[in-house]
């Protein structure tokens, strides 16, 4: 559904193979589509390249050291595999990586670690534990000249050279073909519950989120959605030790009492609910809908949503990250017009609007990612050149050529 008519795919199994392929491509100046298993190929701009470098074959787990909270694996290791290995020791990937398989019509079981890091997609727990970028300790990759380089390390504290691990996180394969990743993991909370209560207005709900977040209660999820039965509801996920969660639930119960009836989802029901939130299930996006993510200060969100709904730019939506992100659908009737209008609205609200899903032509014309200032764009371009002087790695994936 995306990258323009690719004809051949290469699926190397070792870093050296990747280096050989890239050295060859560099010598010919041949652009390549770089991907894991291609499950999120619909994210970012279409890349004009005839050949695909698919890294899903680099799927080994090099080591997992639970006492040191670190795992190193090939970029092709699936998130499912990593999460299973970690779960056996009661640990997890704290950034709760979404698969968006439903969104892109792909197989979520094939989503890779490399894809998670390259797209920097973080789940609902970001407000408590952080984003993908906060957990990438070290990388090995091959730059656009076919050079194998490493950066970072395996320790959680490290100021040894530039933090290239952060730079490649979210670079969508435009700096290097990553081959190995070293990731910080954490013990999964022993207990979790979710409190479900009726929504009020967006303003009131955002104010409620702020009140909850002002307390150190281990709240790792604050969302507002329309439930499958059509109820508009607020979701509060509390995590921690068993007694800790029970105590915090009580404190929250007091705070939320004025909201009326409250449903409590225990452990498994809570986990299932948030897996759905993470995957944007509650958007019920139809196949021809455009899907947007808008990041913004929570306090400006209600006015932004109201304006965008009035303008017809938001059809269905839900709110995550305590009000700091709005996921929404847009009817695919006049995507060109609406995309521009919505982006403009976001810009005026000081927000960043990312087109998570849209037809190739729309992303190619308007860019999946919101524009940045000329100075930032120029510095980013120089930085790309520092890794990939010939511009062969996913050219145009993140930036629209003028």
């Amino acid at each position: 559904m995306t990258d323009i008519q690719t004809t051949a795919s290469m699926r190397p199994a070792t870093t050296q193979d990747v280096a050989d392929i890239l050295m060859d491509a560099a010598s010919k100046g041949e652009p390549l589509v770089v991907r894991g298993n291609g499950t999120r190929a619909g994210l970012g701009n279409p890349v004009a390249a005839l050949r695909v470098l698919e890294l899903g074959g680099l799927d080994q787990i090099d080591f997992y050291d639970p006492d040191d909270l670190v795992i190193r694996a090939g970029v092709g290791a699936t998130l499912d595999n990593i999460e299973q290995v970690l779960a056996q020791k009661g640990q997890y990937l704290p950034f709760e990586p979404p698969r968006y398989a439903g969104l892109y019509g792909t197989d979520g079981a094939r989503c890779t670690l490399g894809g998670a890091v390259s797209t920097a997609l973080s789940g609902p727990r970001r407000i408590l534990t952080g984003a993908v970028r906060d957990f990438v300790l070290g990388v090995e990759g091959v730059n656009g000249q076919g050079d194998v380089f490493k950066a970072g390390g395996r320790t959680m504290k490290n100021v040894t050279g530039y933090d290239i691990s952060k730079l490649v996180t979210g670079a969508n394969g435009t700096l290097a073909a990553l081959t190995t990743l070293t990731i910080k993991v954490l013990p999964a909370p022993r207990a979790e519950v979710t409190l479900v209560l009726p929504a009020a207005t967006l303003e009131e709900d955002v104010a409620l989120f702020a009140r909850i977040r002002a307390l150190p209660l281990g709240v790792g999820g604050l969302a507002r959605r329309v439930s499958p039965t059509g109820a508009c509801e607020v979701l509060v996920r509390v995590e921690g030790t068993v007694p800790g969660v029970a105590g915090n639930q009580q404190v929250l119960g007091g705070l939320l009492a004025t909201r009326g009836s409250m449903e409590v989802l225990e452990q498994q029901a809570s986990q299932a609910l948030w897996a759905g939130v993470r995957e944007l299930d509650c958007l019920n996006a139809r196949p021809d809908d455009l899907v947007w993510r808008v990041n913004l200060p929570a306090t400006t969100m209600p006015a932004f949503v109201a304006q965008a709904r009035k303008a017809g730019c938001i059809n269905r939506f839900f709110v995550d990250w305590a009000g700091g992100v709005v996921f929404s659908t847009m009817r695919g009737v006049q995507p060109e017009v609406d995309t521009l209008r919505y982006r403009k609205m976001a810009e005026q609200a000081g927000a960043r609007a990312t087109l998570l899903r849209a037809p190739d032509a729309v992303r190619a014309q308007f860019g999946a990612f919101p524009p940045v200032s000329a100075g930032v764009a120029a510095l980013a371009a120089r930085t790309r050149t520092a890794f990939d002087p010939a511009g062969i790695l996913n050219p145009g994936r993140m930036t629209v050529q003028a």
Partner: protein
Amino acid sequence: MQMPEPSQAIISQRDALAQGLRQIVGKDWVISDDAQRRPYQCDGITAYMAMPLLVVLPGSAAEVQAVLRFCNDRGVKIVPRGSGTSLSGGALPLEDGVLLVTSRLCNVLAVDERNRVARVQPGVPNIKISEAVSHLGLCYMPDPSSQLISTIGGNVAENAGGVHCLKYGVTANHILGMQAVLMTGEMLELGGAYLGAAEGELDLMGVLTGSEGLLAVVTEIAVRLEPVPEVARVISMSFASVEEACACVGAIIGVGVIPAGLEFMDRKVLDAVSVLIKEKFDDRTAALLLCELDGTAVEVDALVGVVSDVARGQGAIELKVSTTEEERQRIWSSRKLAFSAIGKLCPDYYCTDGTIPRNKLPEVLNKMADMSKKYGLDYANCFHAGDGNLHPIIMYDASKPGDLEKAEEFGADVLIACVDAGGVLSGEHGIGVEKRDLMTHQFTEIDLQQQQMVKCAFDPKDLLNPGKMFPTLCRCAEFGRMHVHNGNLRFADIPRF
């Protein structure tokens, strides 16, 4: 310590440069006389000193821009400086360079309580941020021990950690946006004041954090604020052997507890401290762990139980748990006084900060004992055990010829042992000039070239803090042309300094 050869041509223009800079920042804010420049000769590493060409204290971001543009146009180097507490020589001046000091940029510009963000200028001392928001029950989490003095700009440049970074993360995890000025004077806004504001383009803010003032001068920072934990309690755990204490670190984390802080002190440190706090430690104690747990009262009580059980299982001979805030402070005072206590035992000490996988602690600590014998220098250990961040304190006497060199070699051997154990040269102090020449032990030529290429994207003339972090100067023009594949040593003929 070898630094790039100062340019006599630049030094000879000193008066003219001073005059030009005075027109930008005002006459009082360019320091050119010897007496007033002297305090700026070194940072936290007093062993390395150089007289800066000039010291400039801009009063606004616009003045920073103008100063950089002025120097860029004239090929004059810049060394940024916050409070000068760097322990790696990152703020070491250059004799032909302008020292740009941020101490006048010291305002908390805005506090957004509901979105939990503060916008601050780079010269704000770390502690001032938490002080400015404490009435809201909020704080800025990263708490380097130098937090009373070190600036947030310096913290960003060194990606500073702190006692609580085991649970709460380092500086990079708490920055949402920044304003930065390139050497050309071009100002950039990166990220913003909310989560995800920097996404959708390369994480330039991420690479600026921890870049030791080599890529840009940071002129404004948006930091995340967090609620102050309701309760904190500390457990002091004594062990009869260093090995048991180290094993306990892994066991606590292995059981699924992430303490707010987990610190290690060896017997030598305890003996030094006990003189100051007038408290004796059990004779059998070879090492002590301090484990802080925070959260809500119920949560903390539960965790104290779990950790105490683990410690007993690992052979702890004595456990003390704080029950009041006063007790907590008293238990921590031993750790807080550790470095000054050691300072009373010896004329000088030298402390590095290599970081290793936690399960390699016993191995590397044993190697240190051998090194101590080899160099004939005493040492003590007091460090952030929870993150495997070592701080060996090597004692020497600078007035004894050769002692400093021996201490430096001892320190270098420790760092090499850290890298060999799978760790890194620096956990929080940065490379600066101190660890610069060891970078080739951790990284290949290609790794380093890739990093220097990034430097070229930001500062192609290599005017911003040159001579730091890399064992060779950047040669941006050559990088573009030369390309040798697969580990062939490149630039073998470039002089190292």
